[in-house]
């Protein structure tokens, strides 16, 4: 066959041709020169880095009749027979096809025979990671002590799948990804010898796309040569790869910056119509965004782009905040993953672009926007109205009472609007009444809350919204439980058997019905879990107080249940279930 693929025709034939793996070739050459040949080698490394080639070169080198300083001569009868793939003593085994124990047994049976014409029988076991476990084990003894005329070379892309017992019997050589300059060197060599003309930027694009694999680079070059163009240009490479011109990518980035989803979608659709591939485009956008990120963080010298491009990129980087940039990177990255798995066309990419263009919205806003998701308004609006109801008075009162009572936590939550005088101010006249009221139910201190507060549960219940801290606590109770659940189910259960009583400053008071529960929660470990979760929710350090609650539990529960039931009945989803489906409320949990 005249038309043999480039990567087969230009397989390296000597160690010196094997570019970019000097750490391997040098060691092997030294061993060959010194005549210290091992009996088992393992070549591991990514695809297309020269493992199989190295194995064949090694087989030639140990058997060559006229070796030159360790290198095979490639002229003698043995070298040529190996190069032509007809040597009887180079046994290349496809371990992925012959992966069973039977194949290994037959290998073991034959290995005792001495070589036909060479000094050594070389067994190259390629894709060795696919051997089955029994097969590996059957190989162990032979691998450890083969007959003197046998050498094993195992080659694999996935060394981690090889048993340790096999690894420990081999000399291991790790092949590295080939650097772009080395790939370029090889590509240029091939072009020169094949008589192919290629622009250097085209070759550079090929080398970049090959991600460190000779074979990938050579396959791509092969494909370009097949086109039969006079000279390989950058456009040809782009067309074959389905990659987008720089203008498209820059245009999309600009659309993200200016929040213009329409023009961004136009760029995408135009590019795809022109044969650009959605995944490739996503990758390039990501690469570009990475460039912006580098510029933004003062790493511009890491980029390999022309000065003009860098200038325009710098301008774009200027217009974006790091947070938005990172968000865009995340979105496009997600799109890339979706494109990888699914059979979708360009939809994930389009969605990522639109989302990156939209201003970041907090979930709350998103749901309140016009024409939003309907099921949710129903489900969400109930808590929302409840929150509004609770928050309303609380906020009106909040700032004043808070500043007066405990000065310390002033700024952690928005103090709605008007600037309060600093803590402990000369009481403004209009605050006085509320202040009085506050003091009536003892504030601030820690030992108080007992008598007045709890014995009259109904009062407390009614005045829920009078205590902003407690309102917040009740509001966030569910979230607190949720935050604790992954850490300790036990603590979560404990919290379910108590009631939040009060939150004053950074002291949270919980009321328990049973002394046992209280003791458990006061346990150092459990206590820390709750305090951490609380602090996380509140955004400031919180301390936990607990006390025994001496009210009648069942009564309280009845009350809360009836109030919850009422609240539930206001929920449109529940109402609809009752109206349309004839549901009844059996239990409220």
């Amino acid at each position: 066959m005249a038309g043999q693929a480039l990567y087969r025709r230009w397989r390296s034939r000597t160690f010196s041709e094997l570019i970019g793996q000097e750490h391997v070739t040098q060691t092997l050459l030294n061993a060959l020169r010194a005549g210290r040949i091992g009996h088992a080698y393992l070549f591991a490394g990514p695809r297309g880095t020269g493992k199989t080639s190295a194995a064949r070169i090694f087989a030639k080198a140990v058997n060559c009749l006229e070796p030159a300083d360790g290198e095979p001569c490639n002229h003698c009868s043995i070298c040529t027979s190996i190069n032509e793939g007809r040597a009887l003593d180079l046994i290349e085994i496809d371990a992925a096809s012959n992966r069973g124990i039977d194949e290994i047994r037959s290998l073991r049976d034959k290995i005792a025979f001495s070589p036909n014409e060479c000094r050594y029988k070389v067994y190259v076991v390629d894709e060795v990671h696919m051997l089955t476990d029994p097969a590996f084990n059957a190989l162990l003894k032979t691998l450890e002590e083969p007959p003197p005329h046998a050498i094993f070379v195992l080659a694999t892309t996935e060394p981690h799948r090889i048993p340790l017992t096999v690894l420990s019997r081999c000399q291991r050589f790790d092949f590295r990804r080939v650097s772009v300059p080395n790939l370029l060197l090889k590509l240029e060599r091939i072009c020169a010898q094949e008589g192919v003309r290629a622009r250097s930027e085209a070759l550079a694009a090929i080398a970049r796309h090959a991600t460190g694999s000779f074979r990938d680079a050579e396959s791509l070059l092969d494909q370009l040569v097949s086109f039969g163009v006079e000279e390989i240009k950058l456009e040809d490479v782009e067309r074959v790869l389905g990659s987008a011109p720089e203008a498209v990518v820059a245009g999309m980035a600009q659309a993200v910056i200016s929040g213009d989803a329409g023009s961004g979608l136009r760029w995408i659709n135009e590019a795809l119509d022109n044969g650009v591939e959605a995944r490739q485009l996503t990758r390039e956008v990501l690469e570009y965004l990475r460039g912006l990120l580098l510029i933004k963080n003062g790493g511009a010298q890491l980029l390999s782009v022309t000065p003009e491009t860098e200038k325009s990129m710098a301008a774009q980087a200027e217009a974006l905040t790091i947070a938005r940039l990172l968000r865009a990177v995340r979105l496009f990255n997600g799109a890339g993953n979706l494109l990888k798995t699914g059979s979708h066309t360009q939809l994930p990419l389009e969605m990522a672009l639109v989302e990156a263009c939209l201003p970041e919205e907090s979930p709350g806003q998103a749901q309140r926007g016009p024409g939003t998701v309907a099921g949710e308004p129903g489900a969400v609006s109930a808590p929302q109205t409840a929150r509004a109801a609770a928050a309303g008075p609380a906020e009106r009162r909040g700032p004043s009472s808070r500043t007066v009572v405990s000065g310390s936590q002033a700024s952690s939550r928005p103090a709605s609007g008007h600037v309060e005088p600093p803590p402990e101010p000369p009481d403004p006249p209009d605050l006085n009444p509320r202040l009085e009221e506050k003091r009536a139910i003892p504030p601030g201190s820690t030992k108080e809350a007992s008598a007045a507060g709890e014995t009259q549960a109904p009062v407390r219940q009614a005045s829920v919204s009078a205590d902003p801290g407690l309102a917040w606590l009740q509001e966030n109770w569910g979230r607190l439980l949720q935050a604790i659940r992954p850490k300790s189910r036990q603590v979560e259960a404990l919290l379910k058997s108590c009631e939040p009583l009060k939150m004053q400053g950074d002291v949270v008071t919980l009321g328990f019905y049973h002394g046992f529960h209280r003791e458990r929660l006061n346990d150092e470990h459990n206590r820390r879990i709750v305090e951490e979760a609380l602090s996380g929710l509140a955004g400031r350090p919180c301390r936990l107080e607990s006390k025994l609650y001496d009210g009648n539990r069942q009564e309280r529960e009845k009350e809360t249940e009836s109030s919850r039931r009422e609240e539930l009945l206001r929920n449109p989803v529940v109402r609809e279930a009752i109206d349309q489906l004839g549901a009844t409320v059996v239990d409220v949990q």
Binding site: M1, G3, A5, R8, P46, R47, G48, T52, G85, E92, D94, A96, S97, R99, D126, E127, H129, M130, T157, S213, R215, D216, S219, D222, Q223, V225, S226, F227, G228, G242, A261, G262, L265, R266, N269, L272, G275, E277, R279, K340, S343, T345, L347, E350, M351, V354, E355, L358, A366, G369, P370, G371, T372, V373, A374, G375, G378, E576, A577, Q580
Partner: protein
């Protein structure tokens, strides 16, 4: 004859003429755009006996390949060796078999490949949907794929190169086939399959450039009528109250095998809304309903459209992960923005 993919056909014929044909190709692209057809085209070109431009399509060799009778051209796919399901029919979900080429099939290929061709010039193996082949089978092919016996050409097809082992991809010349331009599909439908005009445009638009799908739809009325049914359901759903939506979800999920299609249709619909809302009405898929889409699009914010697309995405993922279809559909329908008088402004 191959529709579209001119550059790929060019490339292959060029390399054939210059004797630079690779021994392994990977044709990647979405389903129904003609990957296997292109592979068979290459097989014909390789084995055509006509002295003129190859493939002639009329010599004995070409005809045999067309009918799947040529001894040197083999198409390996998962359904090989068992009763083939009719095209377009949903395969029964109960079958526990994993799809994809098996290691035994690859081994059989390897033993045959060393033989010289019976009557053609080259032995051609087409391995379909190789992304479904299991790891063992893929690894088993590696060495053969790298250095096959002299007269063998291996052609793999897959949805995309990323789905395969990198070691497989690096051994092949990868041709990424793209969907055809919609115009070309329409013209082809009209001139070769005798589809009348409004329908041809519609099918072409809906196919998104997947000619195979368009041809199937032109023969199979149910594809179109189903689309009608599901889109109407979607439009209605937006006006229903919660209870009615739940019962609609139950009704739709009675036939779980149809749900992927439903979700695809809905996804396309909402993508059209996205395009229309952001001012790109040129690229709509559902061309026959452009007006409805334009009107609908104004009812939602971009953000709402975006999040509903995500919801559809999620639902289809969940169904892949074996979530109860009824439940997934309920959630999806409950999330559907409601079209009512109060929220009709933008």
């Amino acid at each position: 004859m191959i529709l579209g993919h001119d550059w790929a056909v060019d490339l292959l014929l060029q390399s054939l003429a210059r004797d630079r044909l690779a021994h392994a190709y990977l044709f990647a692209g979405p389903p129904g755009i003609g990957k296997t057809s292109l592979a068979l085209y290459l097989a014909r070109a390789l084995n055509c006996t006509d002295p003129g431009p190859r493939p002639c399509g009329s010599c004995a060799s070409c005809r045999k390949i067309g009918q799947g009778l040529h001894p040197d051209v083999r198409v390996l796919d998962e359904s090989e060796g068992e009763g083939k399901t009719a095209a377009g029919e949903p395969s029964e979900p109960a079958s526990r078999r994993k799809p994809g080429i098996k290691i035994s099939q690859v081994r059989e290929l390897q033993t045959q490949a060393v033989l010289s061709p019976y009557e053609g010039r080259r032995r051609v193996y087409v391995l379909c949907d190789f992304q479904q082949a299991n790891v063992e089978a893929a690894n088993c092919l590696l060495k053969t794929l790298e250095e096959p016996p002299g007269s063998v050409v291996l052609i793999l097809t897959a949805l995309q190169a990323e789905g395969l082992l990198p070691t497989i991809v690096s051994r092949c010349q990868v041709l990424n086939l793209r969907p055809l331009p919609v115009r070309q599909v329409r013209d082809a439908l009209r001139s070769y399959w005798g589809v009348e005009e409004p329908k041809a445009s519609l099918l072409a638009g809906l196919s998104g450039g997947r000619i195979g799908w368009a041809i199937r739809a032109s023969r199979d009325e149910s594809l179109l009528s189903n689309r009608e049914k599901y889109l109407v359901a979607l439009e209605q759903a937006a006006r229903l109250n919660l209870t009615e939506r739940i019962s609609l979800a139950q009704q739709l999920s009675r036939d779980p095998s149809a749900l992927p299609e439903v979700l695809d249709l809905w996804r396309e619909w909402w993508r059209d809304l996205l395009l229309a809302r952001s001012g790109n009405p040129g690229a709509l898929i559902n061309v026959d309903r452009a007006q409805a889409i334009m009107a609908d699009a104004q009812r939602y914010t971009l953000h709402a459209i975006q999040s509903y697309l995500r919801a559809i995405e999620r639902a289809s993922q969940q169904m892949d992960q074996n979530v109860s279809p009824g439940l997934a559909m309920e959630v999806l329908l409950l999330k559907l923005p409601r079209v009512s008088t109060e929220v009709s402004q933008v």
